[in-house]
Point group: C2
């Protein structure tokens, strides 16, 4: 009888393994690990602090280490691989699909990589070198070379008998590819069509030939969008002359989709999207420092704007008390727009045809919310500080800054993308700099003109 | 010969359709739409401003409208569905899988929903009502009831002949489910096993019975994690007594993974994750207003902290000029940690076993970066303003705030999760409030004690 999964069971295993580790019961841990799937062990490693991670890795079954490495995220995988002997690496990756081996070995230095290759037999070496020749973020870098090709002029029955003789199909096979003598892709035949077809019918009469193949140099983000939109389970990869080179399967695309979406979220917050949650302290501190350095410049730029108005601040401390409100609201409103535009760019909804419409929309949203909050904050400041003029100045600055925030929120990410700079990486910081400076300028400028004697 | 996809072709189609629309060539647009897949039409609709969207929808083939609706994101889909007649809705959803119909109809008011149901035949009505009885964000709400069951005591050959007689398999079928007389799930048989098995072997001897089934009330985020980790293409859904109820397929899970990851990114920026990029202005302004309202309170709280030190600000305008730097750095550093923790919570890497380790790590990262930036900003302020005391105060406040930011960055999202509040929604704002207030308090407090006469 099948186990019913009430919820993700790994939480419990995690706790049990951790308790056993704490008590030094290594034999028990090894037994627990033996009962786990490689992907669950990978999850456990990802969720463990460095020291525990190292101990756990020593206790895993060497037979499974290759597959575990393949399931780990890049940062964690690289940490383990960097400490493994070349012979060991060659041994654990033996028999794995070429795209998975390429993932495991990609971070090695050229010297160590050559040492690993030297340990493999000629066929494996050739397969891996071919896989690694393609850039990681293209179809070539993602594809597996493990697939089944058939001819179009045979019957379904012949194919079925061939497959039965051949035995187990490559993992995640949902289609067979129909090629001609020159390995040119002609069409594909899904397993479900093969199964429901009468035995005496020829493949070319039932195969789907309108299906689209992926070019070997297609970027991975395009691949993710296509798979997602078309609900594909797998797709053939071809060169410019339509020669079949490999196959991309949904499981790799799922990882990609997760990574892409995480990329936006993490880089918008100024983090490396590969950052291991349980990385060593110094490594984390260093990787985050860059972003803090950029922000120091932003904060100093804002401070030098205030500095221009030092005389005003000297005259009236209340202006200083209130001056942070407008930049703060502009930052929040602008970042809402930035997030919307970054998502729209990522999924391909925003392009030349609709940028102008979007700009006008966000400008109007900024104006409307600017009016609403200008009114509210104007009244609050009037009541709090008893100055109608101060309330009015606050309201004016708020309106101006939220309008600018809407416009900049569209223009900055789209402009960055045109300059081939990742909008998720630089968009939020550029926007905040813009709204900080504009907000302070307008508020302190108006206060200088209208209030101070 | 297969088409080679150099890149996502929809960009070009989008431009062509838009040009035709602008020129009022509706017949041409209709023809272009007829050549497109439903999912590509959905993409086109998502990428169009409201007016164009409405025109385009009128030009789509009614035969395809059901499938197009199913491919649309929630906000866009709801906008179209709300304007359709009940008869029309019943007609376009006819023949669709029950989980897809449930998605299309879920947003209807009870009254309109009853009207749509009244237009369906009894079988369809029953199927849809069953599907809608499960909460949307559980296995029951996601599953399709379209699957194939077989018995364990028949041979592979019998199954193959049965399938051939039956004809086309339900979409995305990669496995057949083996059940007993009471529809209790016993195991499953993948199509690739069925194909490679000798014809005279009984199903129960080759089926996989160790496979796990998903409980009908499992939360969708758990389902996404399991599918992703196990590389599943589909999984059976069962009730507490192991009765087979339905099947979840990877294409729905892919959408879910994208939505979940987008959810974190969008809500962290204070946006509704369903927000249509091309929503009408007023609707957008309203949905974003809530977040701006929360931020007004945050900004006012920070201002009232400064207000407590009005006397100090009055004495020394330089303090006012510099007072925004420390809160800004604390906000950036804290939000880095918040992003890391939110991702870790979402993928299930952070739990009771490692929270303490993570807290100590982030506190130490905060201390190290606090020291680095305290030193740098202290020197900058000393050089800029010529006051060693002011530099030292700045450095002290920076160190304290980055340390607090690291600690709060871990505790706030984990605490929110314990309180069953979405950490992505409230985490960033709560963190910024905390670092703003602490940063201002410490900096202005130290300045008051050590500088002003």
């Amino acid at each position: 009888m099948a186990d019913v999964l009430e919820q993700d069971q790994t939480h419990h295993t995690l706790q049990e393994v951790n308790k056993a580790l704490e008590n030094g019961m290594f034999v028990h841990v090894r037994r627990l690990l033996q009962d786990m799937e490689p992907e669950d062990i990978a999850h456990l490693l990802e969720a463990s602090p460095p020291k525990e991670r190292q101990v756990l890795w020593q206790l895993t079954d060497p037979e499974e280490q290759g597959e575990i490495l393949d399931e780990l995220s890049e940062d964690v995988k690289d940490g383990i691989v960097s400490q493994m002997e070349p012979e060991k690496l060659a041994a654990v990756t033996e028999g794995m699909e070429s795209d998975d081996v390429a993932y495991v070995l990609r971070s090695l230095s050229d010297e160590r990589y050559q040492e690993v290759l030297a340990q493999m037999d000629a066929t494996d070496r050739h397969r891996i070198e071919t896989a690694l020749a393609y850039p990681e973020d293209t179809a070539g870098g993602m594809m597996s070379t493990d697939f089944i090709t058939i001819r179009g002029d045979v019957t379904a029955d012949v194919v079925l008998r061939y497959l039965r003789m051949r035995g187990e199909l490559p993992e995640a096979t949902d289609s067979l590819y129909v090629v001609d003598d020159n390995q040119v892709l002609i069409g594909h035949l899904s397993l479900s069509t093969l199964i429901t077809t009468q035995p005496d019918i020829e493949i070319k009469d039932v195969m789907q030939d309108a299906d689209e193949a992926i070019a070997v140099d297609m970027a991975d983000s395009e691949i993710a969008n296509i798979f997602e939109r078309r609900n594909w389970l797998s797709a053939p990869v071809v060169d410019a002359n339509n020669h079949l080179l490999g196959r991309i399967t949904i499981d790799d695309v799922v990882d990609l989709i997760r990574e892409e979406a995480e990329h936006s979220m993490m880089t918008m917050a100024g983090m490396d999207d590969d950052e291991d949650t349980f990385a060593p302290v110094l490594k984390s501190a260093k990787s985050r420092s860059i972003w803090l350095g950029v922000n120091v410049l932003t904060a100093l730029a804002a401070a030098s704007v205030s500095n221009m108005f030092e005389h005003t601040l000297q005259q009236m401390a209340t202006v200083a008390v209130l001056m942070t409100i407008v930049p703060s609201m502009g930052g929040v409103a602008g970042n809402q727009t930035v997030a919307l535009v970054i998502r729209g760019l990522a999924v391909g909804h925003i392009g030349d045809t609709n940028t102008r419409w979007l700009l006008s929309k966000e400008a109007r949203v900024g104006l409307i919310n600017g009016l609403v909050w200008a009114l509210i904050i104007g009244v609050v400041v009037f009541v709090w500080k008893g100055s109608l003029m101060l309330g009015a100045i606050m309201a004016g600055a708020m309106l101006a800054n939220l309008f600018i925030a809407g416009v900049a929120g569209v223009l900055i990410p789209i402009g960055l993308k045109k300059l081939k700079i990742d909008p998720a990486l630089a968009g939020g910081m550029a926007l905040t700099t813009c709204t900080d400076i504009v907000g302070l300028m307008v508020f302190l400028g108006l206060a200088t003109i209208f209030i101070t004697p």
